[in-house]
Subunit: 403 residues, 2 copies
Amino acid sequence: MSDASEKLTQSGLSRSVGIVEPKTARFSEPLALDCGRSLPSYELVYETYGQLNAERSNAVLICHALSGDHHAAGFHAETDRKPGWWDSAIGPGKPIDTDRFFVVCLNNLGGCKGSTGPLSIDPVSGKPYGPDFPIVTVKDWVHSQYRLMQYLGLSGWAAVIGGSLGGMQVLQWSITYPDALAHAIVIAAAPRLSAQNIAFNEVARQAIITDPEFYGGRYAEHNTLPRRGLMLARMLGHITYLSDDAMRAKFGRELRSGKVQYGFDVEFQVESYLRYQGTSFVDRFDANTYLLMTKALDYFDPAQASNDDLVAALAEVKAHFLVVSFTSDWRFSPERSREIVRALLASGKQVSYAEIESNHGHDAFLMTIPYYHRVLAGYMANIDLASTPRGASSPVCSTEGAV
Amino acid sequence: MSDASEKLTQSGLSRSVGIVEPKTARFSEPLALDCGRSLPSYELVYETYGQLNAERSNAVLICHALSGDHHAAGFHAETDRKPGWWDSAIGPGKPIDTDRFFVVCLNNLGGCKGSTGPLSIDPVSGKPYGPDFPIVTVKDWVHSQYRLMQYLGLSGWAAVIGGSLGGMQVLQWSITYPDALAHAIVIAAAPRLSAQNIAFNEVARQAIITDPEFYGGRYAEHNTLPRRGLMLARMLGHITYLSDDAMRAKFGRELRSGKVQYGFDVEFQVESYLRYQGTSFVDRFDANTYLLMTKALDYFDPAQASNDDLVAALAEVKAHFLVVSFTSDWRFSPERSREIVRALLASGKQVSYAEIESNHGHDAFLMTIPYYHRVLAGYMANIDLASTPRGASSPVCSTEGAV
C-alpha cells in the first residue's frame, strides 16, 4: 500500500478507488461529425477504475453530463479537497462496484478538461480552435466513445451508464451500437429537450455570447474571459438543477446578514449560493465548451430520424434497460423518463424503471440517496457478465467514415 | 360619438373603453418609505375607466405587476396597435364592467411610465434619480395608492384587484387599510416569494448589474443602456411566465428554418420568440425600474412582522376575498394561492377560491379564459356597492408620516 492510499484509508476513504491518473488516447483516423465537418485527429482523456477481467467482459462506460469530465471517482492527489464527480456511486463496494467492474470514464470531445475541444490546437491553423471547433452531437460522442472502446481492446460493455446528458448518450449507444452493450442505465434524462429546456439553454448562450468579453469566442486571443456571461449561465443552470423544495429546505428566505438591507448586495442566502456557484465556475470551465454542450443537448432527438416515433427508433435495441428518475426533478421530470420506458416497452424491450422519492431536484442523480443506490447496486449486481458482447458488430446507423 | 370611438366601434372594438388619457396627480407631502428614506414629493400617473357614481361607492383599484403600468384598458390613440395590458377584463360588459364600476389604475412609484421613479428628476440634486431612487416596497406602494384614493375624493374601494405582484398589493391593502376596501381579488399571487423565485430575480438582476453598459445605474449619464442585461432578464422572465406545456404547444421543437443549422444563430422557434421578447423590452422599460420591481417582489412578506404567521397577519382584515390560481402556473403555483386561502379561513375571513384549468402558465391571468372570466364577472356582479367603505379610517400599520 502506498503512502497516499494509506492516508486515504486512514482518513476514512477506504471505499474510494484511491489515487487515479488520467490517461490520453490519440486517434489519427478522421472522425466525421453530424454537422458535416470532420476532426482530422483528436485525443480523448479518460480514467479507469478497477481491473479488466481475463474475459474482458466486465467493462462499464460512464458518460458525463454538461459540466462533467473524465474524473468520475477517486482523487488525483492526496491533497485534493474533493473526489471525482460520481465518487458516491463508483468504488469498491459501491453501487458501481470496482471490485467487480472495470469502469471507464472519458472527457467528451469538445470538452475543456483535456480531450480535444475549443482549447486544443487546430492542426490546420496551428492556433486554438476556440469558436471554430465544430458543433458536436450526442451521436458524435458515441462514435468517439466506440473508438475508445476499440482502443482499450474491448469488444463491448457490460453496461453503459449516465445521468442527465450522460443518460442521453446511453440511449444513443443502445440505438447506434445495439451489439456493443448488454445493459443501458439511463438516469434523470429525457428522450429530447422540451421547448422550456431549450429556452433555458438559449438564455445561457445569450448571456455568454452577448458578453463584450466574449469576442465572438476568441476571448483567449484577447487575454480575457466572458466571466459575466459564464457566471450567469451557471447561476441559471443551478436553479434548474435544484427543486423549489430543495431550495426552500436549503435556503428558505434566510437573510445573510439577519436583516433586510434595502440594496443590491447579497441579501438572501440563495443569492450568495448562486453567486458563489457562478463565479467559481468561471475559473474551471471554458465558455466555448459550455456553448457546445448546450447545443448537443438541444439537438439530441433520436426519434427525429424515425418520424418522431421513439418506438421505431428503438426497434433494433438489444440492451436491457434500467431507467431512473427523481420525483422533484423538474429539468427532466419523471414523465420524461416514462416516455423512454413506454417506448421501450412498446418496442418489446426489457426495462426496469425506478422513480426515486427525493426533494433534491435534478441534482439527485449525483447524491447518495439510499433507495436510489440500492436500486443501482441491485441492478449492477444482477448483471451476468456472460451476456457482455464479445465481438460487437458494425453500428446500425453509421456516419460515413465515422467508425 | 367621436370619430375615433366610431372607428373603434367599426373595427369590432365596441366593448373597449375607447380612447383614454392618462392623468397626473401631484403630491407634495413627503412619503416615508420602508427603507428609511422618504420621497419629498412625487407624481402618480393614472387612468380611469367608467363613471364614478353619485355615492362614490363604485370605485375599483387595479394594481399592476412587474412590467405593467397605468394603461390597463382602452387605447391612447386610434393608431395604437394594442390596447392596455388588461383590456380583456376591463370594459363595458367585461368582467370588470365599466358600465357599473369606476376603474382606477396607476403606474407605481419607481415605475418608468410617468410616475415618479428612476427616470424622474430628483428635486434635491436637479438630476434624474437613476440608481439613487429609493428601494420601494409593496407596502410603500399601498401607502401611495391610499393617497391617490384620497386625491380622487374616494373614501374606499368597492374592490382592489391585481394579478401576480399586483395580487400582492391587494393582500397588503387588506392588511394595512382594512377599512378602505370591501373586496380583495388576488390572482396568480403568493404570500411571499420562494427561494426559487428569489433566485430567478437574482439572476435577472445580475444580468443587468454586470452589464458593462450599466455604469452602476448611471447609464443615462453615459448616453447608453444596459441592453444585454435587460434583454437577458426579460428572456428569463418569459420562461417563468409560460408553462412547459404552453411552450410545447406554442413552439414544440419547431425549427425556424426547417432544418438544423449547427450554429449559434436562432435555430428553434422558441429562441426566436425569446430574443424578440428580450430585445423589444429594452426599448420600453427602464433597467433601474426593473431592479426596483424585483426587489419589491423579494421583500414582500406580510407575515414576517407576525413571526411568519400569515393567519395572525390577516387578523384585522375585513375585506371579502376572491383568490384565483391557474393549474399550470409554476411561478406562483396554485399551492401558493391555497396558502393564502387557508390562512384567510383560519383567520375566520370570507374567501372564495377558484383554481382555473389552464396550460398557459403564469401568463394565464392576462388571458381570456372563459371559466376564469365567468368567475371574475360573477364575483364582480355580486358586489353590493352599499358595502363599499364610506369613510375609511387610519391604517392599521402606519409608516410614520406616510399617511
